[in-house]
């Protein structure tokens, strides 16, 4: 029964947020973009609202958080009551504070990682498609070979070799992820390089770098942006999986994956505490996926 009430409440909240966000965006958007938002499905407006909320929390985290990130403020596992609105964790740190800082760290790192993977992967992928011939064949075969190694295990291996600072974490996951981006960027670019305007630019004598930057990249953005959203979620989940396996973000830095992990045994007893960070992860991935979905739908040009 509780589950049903909870689900109903969640659904209602979803609608309220979605409708409100859509209304807000419609009002605030510049005139040219108004139709974009008017058409937006509820899922997308909800997604945008959630993402904005996360970004705000991430940016203003230190101002919002009632306590310090690693500050031990009381006993362990305090119940949900003021001043610890979401209780405390196993070391007696404020759960709400940890969640807020977690947004900053986890989202920030996932974003940096995805961005890096995209810069490297898409430039190399487009370059391979543009170069064609054996250069393309060899890089693609090599990337295929790397992709045949399971991502999680490959990341584990690399992290064990290079250690687990935030920087190596970002570099390693970005490297593993870049192979996937490479493949997508290459196939998208292959569709673009056969276009007459690329031929025209080549015949004009443009350099490869300019071809990539001015001619191909702008046209490959739509699928790449959609993929960015999905990849972002994947990175997010792989970081939490790595945290689960003990190689994620270092303490006392708050990170949602580790927070779930730390409190995982409590799930066995139906304790809600580990649900919070897991829910935070899920909510953001759902939101990103909703928005990506909407973007893909728009890009595909399919109307009703």
């Amino acid at each position: 029964m509780n589950v049903i009430v909870f689900l109903a409440a969640a659904l209602a909240l979803f609608f309220v947020i979605g409708v409100a966000a859509r209304a807000a965006m419609k009002t605030l958007a510049p005139a040219a973009d108004k139709p974009t938002f008017r058409d937006m499905p509820l899922t997308a407006s909800f997604g945008i609202a959630v993402i904005l909320f996360y970004v705000l929390v991430a940016v203003f985290g230190p101002l919002l958080a009632p306590f310090g990130e690693g500050e031990v403020v009381g006993a362990q596992y305090l119940p949900w009551a003021a001043p610890h609105y979401l209780g405390t964790d196993k070391l007696g740190r404020d759960m709400l504070t940890r969640l807020i800082y977690g947004a900053r760290n986890t989202v920030g790192i996932a974003f940096a990682t995805t961005a890096l993977a995209f810069v490297v992967g898409s430039i190399l992928g487009i370059w391979a498609a543009l170069a064609g011939g054996w250069l393309d064949q060899w890089t693609s075969r090599f990337v295929d070979a790397l992709m045949a190694i399971p991502a999680l295990i490959f990341s584990l291996l690399l992290l064990t070799i290079f250690g687990t600072s935030v920087l190596t974490l970002i570099l390693v996951i970005a490297a593993v992820d870049a192979t996937r981006v490479f493949r997508l960027a290459r196939s998208v670019a292959q569709g673009i390089v056969v276009m007459d305007y690329i031929e025209a630019a080549r015949l004009r004598g443009e350099s490869n770098w300019r071809l990539i930057r001015r001619e191909i990249l702008p046209n490959a953005m739509a699928p790449l942006v959609a993929e960015f959203g999905l990849r972002f979620c994947f990175v997010f989940l792989s970081i939490s999986a790595l945290s689960f396996l003990g190689l994620g973000i270092k303490p006392p830095t708050a990170d949602w994956g580790s927070m779930v992990r730390d409190n995982a045994t409590l799930i066995t007893f139906g304790d809600i505490t580990p649900l919070l960070p897991a829910g935070a992860i899920a909510l953001l991935t759902v939101a990103v996926n909703f928005v990506v979905d909407w973007q893909l739908h728009r890009a595909s040009g399919l109307k009703e």
């Binding site: 139709p35 305007y197 015949l203 702008p218 399919l302 009703e304």
Partner: protein, 538 residues
């Protein structure tokens, strides 16, 4: 001869969706069709021809809706009928033949399976009977090997044969009405003849009523009893075919009729060193030679039209000249000096001299760049223009192609019409200040009136800027109006070449003759005469 009315459309209104708003596509059109009658629907792109044709089946494409008027098919109100009722009519009593048979046959199934689908699903006949019937109809459509052609997949059958197979498929349930939506537009002229003849015959044999949609007046003249002219969703006029051809009432109709009147004045004979000289070029991809021993010259201020059907090697010739495809044998001389075979080995100066305009302006212009950069880039690159000088040059170019600089300079290609896009393609080529422009089917994707404008512009620019054109086309009408010299190609070989006047007046080669005679003429009897002349059944 008063026949029974089969289809009566009154005050039909259809709307299309863009974003949240609905805008009209068809604005209150009336249409009456009698049993066994063929009505030609003609108009330029955006006139609402196809939409109207589909509405005759009670069908609106995704993103469209029928918002007003009535559609009465043999006493059935198609708007009021349920979807299931409409479905039971489609394919059974009203059939449809699409523009591109290659795209409209499902690539996953054999022809005969697709043929049998409608008769079997609509319970008109059993599968075995339908298969036998298919062979019969294939025979009547004069398809080769009617016994076994049905067991092929669409990709194994040529375009002209597919179009006939599709007509046969439409006939499967012996419908009372067929909608032909530009059925020969995608075909080569020589193939078009066969398909037109086959369609006309079968429609007559079964006494089927038809709506024949096309933009090609000469074609509709052969097929239709009556012609209705549409413009932007409204009717312009309607009349019997002969009357319409002889004395069009409306200005718009007249302008359609007049399109082919443009002709570039005769030029003096060519002299001096040719700008481009193609010498004994053999080239190809993989193991196949697409071009064999091709030679011709292009002189300054002259237009050389390279003519041929699809697969004749016209575009490959252009790729050899531009250096995209280095030839296996032979060479390309530019002002008497050999050009490096590959474009990447050519100097900027060499690249600049030879510019290209493409068939599909949509794919030839980077949709993410503004006109300023699209046009300005060659000027910036080749001529080193910057800042104010560059801006002035871009504005000059826009003026030259008759687009208002202030209005257009910061637009994206997506905000332009088809003709405007093609003009930008021209401006981009001009920006490099070349000696030669290769025009690859530059007008074939455009409506006739727009084509006319582009041709006039090209002609004017040629005079003003001393340009040489290599004009690749399959459209002989275009050749007639703009070319100085003609090169006829077939299967990678130059069949015949010479000055336009000489070649058109007295073609030496049989193929040239076939090509020239296959171009439809604006005479309802042209097809009959041609078929009779060729000794085929009329």
């Amino acid at each position: 001869m008063e026949k029974k009315v089969l289809l009566a459309i009154k005050g039909l209104q259809i709307e299309g969706r863009s974003g949240d708003a609905w805008h009209p596509i068809v604005k209150g059109v009336d249409l009456t069709l009698h049993k066994g009658e063929v009505l030609g629907l003609i108009g330029e792109s955006g006139a609402g021809k196809s939409t109207l044709g589909l509405a005759a089946m009670g069908f609106a494409r995704d993103g469209c809706r029928i918002s007003g008027g009535t559609i009465d098919f043999d006493g059935i109100d198609l708007r009021a009928a349920s979807e299931a009722e409409r479905r039971s009519l489609r394919g059974k009593r009203i059939a449809y033949v699409a523009q591109s048979a290659a795209a409209s046959f499902n690539p996953a199934h054999r022809l005969v399976d697709q043929y049998c689908e409608a008769p079997v699903v609509h319970r008109v006949m059993a599968r075995e009977k339908a298969e036998a019937d298919a062979v019969e109809l294939y025979r009547r459509m004069r398809l080769p090997n009617p016994e076994e052609i049905g067991f092929r997949y669409p990709h194994q059958v040529s375009g002209g044969q597919l179009q006939r197979a599709m007509t046969a498929m439409a006939m499967a349930c012996r419908p009372e009405l067929i909608i032909f939506d530009e059925p020969t537009t995608a075909l080569d002229v020589t193939t078009q003849i066969e398909v037109l003849a086959a369609i006309r015959d079968i429609v007559r044999q079964f006494g089927t009523a038809a709506i024949y949609i096309t933009h090609d007046l000469a074609v509709v003249a052969q097929m239709a009893d009556r012609i209705k002219v549409l413009l932007r969703g409204s009717e312009v006029e309607e009349a019997d075919t002969r009357k319409m051809l002889a004395e069009p009432r409306e200005d718009y109709t007249k302008s359609l009729w007049a399109v082919r009147s443009f002709a570039r004045p005769e030029q003096p004979p060519a002299t001096g060193t040719p700008i481009v000289s193609v010498r004994n070029v053999t080239a190809g991809y993989g193991a196949i030679n697409v071009l064999t021993d091709v030679s011709f010259d292009i002189h300054a201020r002259r237009t050389v039209a390279v003519v041929g059907e699809s697969g004749s090697g016209k575009s490959t010739t252009a790729r050899v000249i531009t250096g995209l495809l280095p030839p296996r044998k032979g060479e390309v001389l530019f002002n008497g000096k050999p050009l490096p075979p590959g474009f990447s080995a050519r100097s900027r100066g060499e690249l600049r001299q030879c510019q290209m305009i493409y068939q599909m302006a949509d794919t030839a212009l980077n949709p993410k760049l503004r006109l300023r950069e699209l046009i300005g880039r060659p000027a910036e690159m080749y001529l080193g223009l910057k800042g104010k000088a560059l801006d002035d040059r871009i504005r000059d170019l826009l003026s030259l192609i008759e687009l208002e600089p202030d209005k257009f300079i910061d637009r994206l290609p997506g905000e332009l019409s088809g003709g405007q896009k093609q003009r930008i393609g021209i401006a981009r080529a001009l920006a490099a200040e070349p000696q030669l422009i290769i025009c690859d089917e530059v007008t074939s994707a455009l409506d006739q009136i727009v084509q006319e404008g582009i041709l006039k512009l090209l002609s004017r620019l040629q005079d003003e800027l001393n340009l040489a054109y290599m004009f690749i086309t399959h459209d002989l009408a275009t050749v007639r109006s703009i070319a100085d010299e003609v090169v006829v190609m077939q299967q990678g070989v130059v069949v015949e070449r010479g000055p336009k006047a000489v070649l058109f007046a007295a073609p030496k080669e049989e193929y040239t003759n076939l090509l020239l005679s296959s171009v439809p003429e604006m005479d309802p009897d042209w097809l009959n005469r041609l078929l009779a002349a060729r000794g085929e059944p009329a």
